[in-house]
Symmetry: C2
Subunit: 306 residues, 2 copies
Amino acid sequence: MIGEFELIKKLTAILKEDTIGDDTAYIKIGDKGLNITCDAFLEDVHFLIHYPPESLGFKAISINVSDIVANGGKPLYGLISLMIPDYIEERFLERIYEGVKAACEFYSLKIVGGNVSKASKLGIDVFLIGEVDRFVSRNGALVGDDVLVTGTLGDSYAGFKLLTSKKAYEEYELRLIERHLRPTARIDYINHIRKYANASMDISDGLSSDLWHIAERSNVVIEINKDKIPISNELKIFASKNHLDPYEIALSGGEDYQLLFSQKKEHFNPFLDNTVIGKVIDKGRALVLMDGKELERKGFDHFKKR
Amino acid sequence: MIGEFELIKKLTAILKEDTIGDDTAYIKIGDKGLNITCDAFLEDVHFLIHYPPESLGFKAISINVSDIVANGGKPLYGLISLMIPDYIEERFLERIYEGVKAACEFYSLKIVGGNVSKASKLGIDVFLIGEVDRFVSRNGALVGDDVLVTGTLGDSYAGFKLLTSKKAYEEYELRLIERHLRPTARIDYINHIRKYANASMDISDGLSSDLWHIAERSNVVIEINKDKIPISNELKIFASKNHLDPYEIALSGGEDYQLLFSQKKEHFNPFLDNTVIGKVIDKGRALVLMDGKELERKGFDHFKKR
């Protein structure tokens, strides 16, 4: 099977649409700009059935909010397509919806409908509509821009590894697990992205792969420095105890739902939890360099082995 | 497990939303009214994997267009969430998208994005946005209204039975199969529904069940006559050869994607393929009568046995 991104390209070529390639799609209704997105959250692909059901509902919403925010949108309305296998109890579904409700309150978002369907595995497919004054695409990075990320990277992957490898946890491990199970999308950055970002996306596949997405869509050369990548203390402890490189985890881990964006140097805001990890140094070709060498893409692709 | 409709009620009660209960959800963006919907189309639940892939793409779009139209909307934009198991070849996916493309052209609709995901079974979850000047709900039926359906009913169910029971077909059988595999949503009725319908929905679960939905949401008594239900010649032949009652098939079959609506008597338009099957005769309670007796609900419910 070909990779996920080539597949999307092939299928969208059939529809002859050129609007596909960002986290969300931009549409105009009257004089209002909207961005819309959907992201399926599926058992055994994105989560395991023994995870707390509230966290499944919360995360299914968060991963979609993250896409809306990445393009400068503010989430407004959503629908949920729920796929329910025989072995799921009604109480389990109610607990999923408790998580959905908590997420909707946190993000000021309203679920207005959806549908339920029998299925072989549990699936929560969420559709969101956001309003967006200025749609910030992946394709706007300019030479001279700083390249930034929000928060810290790699925690979610470490949390996932911990979740699937042991049963009793230390305090720092529980914090990593929490970041995997219940990521919060960066709605606090909506205004900043709208005003200042030239290119933006969320980090869902992994930093290395997502940097390449920006480089390719903007047709620019990005150079980053490995030691600038923000790493949490929890991830440092995890990596050290497991003899791993925390920067490698941050580059390839995925599911961080932090933002990756480029902006003019003067727009740096030191009060936010954002970090300059590199710069756009050239245009006319797509390339990502880390400390002077081409960066390998190691992000998540459903259809390829890691 | 409780039934599909009770389940939806329970889950939406958790979110405290009162807007759920129609084929689509109404939202207002600026001064524009929109209706949005999603309907999952899943392998082994809604289709079998040996069906022609083009028909899967076409039908996945049609069933969603049908929901938009049922509430008086005109479909504009869509997203597709594609769930792909290992055993699906790239060519099969391309053929699905050929069907999606044909549907988009037919319905003047644009797919602007979506996502692909690995899954255990094939799934096509479509999300549509329509524009709607006047949202026509299930809850507006008035005493004195005629109750009408478009087209003929029961063909799709007969087609499904033929598809799954034999391999070589006569001409009339192929026409029934075609109606199951590639239903066309009634976009030709958009203006009529917007102007004249007091209550409206599409017939996806089966006429008897869908009549009850209107009766309950409008809190009215509907009386219909069995022999008024429009039956195609193909279904008559099918029923007669198989010693079945074609009216029973029409009442319980489902997946017709015709419209069921109520309107004032004077709005009847004899140039359309619509048929008056009954009348709204009382209000203050929900009841459906057929030829003077309470009509049994025999529509499709995912979570109950037929």
